[in-house]
Symmetry: C2
Subunit: 159 residues, 2 copies
């Protein structure tokens, strides 16, 4: 039977393994530099920067949702932002992803959020189809911009 | 002379006016349902959901940056996410936008963030050019997905 529960510190090694599995699915496994120490520090201290919801079947992890609150200036209301959603290959097609999305929708409403938002890769049609089946809209005119590495140091005047 | 400072509660009417001005520039003025009360509640209480940096010339507001921290699972590190950046038309081309971006880059590094991220509309070429001149990358393969309104209620089982 599927159960969902909030992650606790002892889950961190499994969370990191799921983050790596998702990055591999997204064809960028080498991009994961997160460590168990960084996830413990940032997610399980006094001011957690994120929340993790674990999905388990008979106590075995089958997936997770990694999320936090952002903010919509237009709505004047928090947004629940889903950073990572992953279901292990063996458990796909059994409703785990939908159960996680339903949980997030309920959590969003409970926390006073007006929206769920997330990103998806443009070639990931199975996920796009799944999200659209839930009523989500792909906002194709909004592009994502990133500044990091040497460009960030340089802009800060430290390059 | 340009000065940057953190917003305080008395700035909320100006912040809301700048949010509306940006929404008008983005051709969606009717989408702003935020109120002074919602911004006061969410940004200036015990657990602020966002930060606002005001840009002023001789004490008059000329722009703002509206931002918060998100999280990168790949980096295992916070990200400084820029929700809104706006400079009033009369002050454009005078370095206000760049000064705000430099401030955000320094703030990101001080707060242990590995990245600045934000969204831009695909037709907003002047902004895209400006961001690229700072060293930012447009990540065209990442699409933004949103679930709200009746679809959110339905997924939560309340529709």
């Amino acid at each position: 039977m599927l159960t969902l529960r909030p992650a606790v510190p002892v889950d961190v090694p499994v969370i990191l393994a799921l983050i790596r599995a998702l990055a591999t699915y997204e064809k960028e496994p080498h991009k994961v530099v997160a460590t168990e120490a960084s996830l413990l520090r940032d997610g399980f201290g006094d001011r957690p920067l994120f929340q993790v919801t674990m999905a388990e079947v008979e106590g075995h992890p089958v997936g997770f949702a990694f999320w936090f609150l952002t903010y919509s200036t237009w709505r004047g209301q928090a947004t629940l932002f889903l950073e990572d959603l992953f279901v292990i290959p063996e458990a796909r097609g059994t409703g785990v992803g939908k159960a996680l999305m339903q949980f997030l929708a309920r959590t969003a409403l409970q926390q006073g959020c007006g929206r769920l938002m997330w990103n998806v890769l443009d070639w990931n049609q199975p996920s796009i189809d799944f999200y659209q089946s839930l009523g989500a809209q792909v906002l194709r005119e909004w592009l994502t911009v990133r500044l990091d590495g040497e460009a960030l140091q340089r802009l800060a005047g430290k390059g």
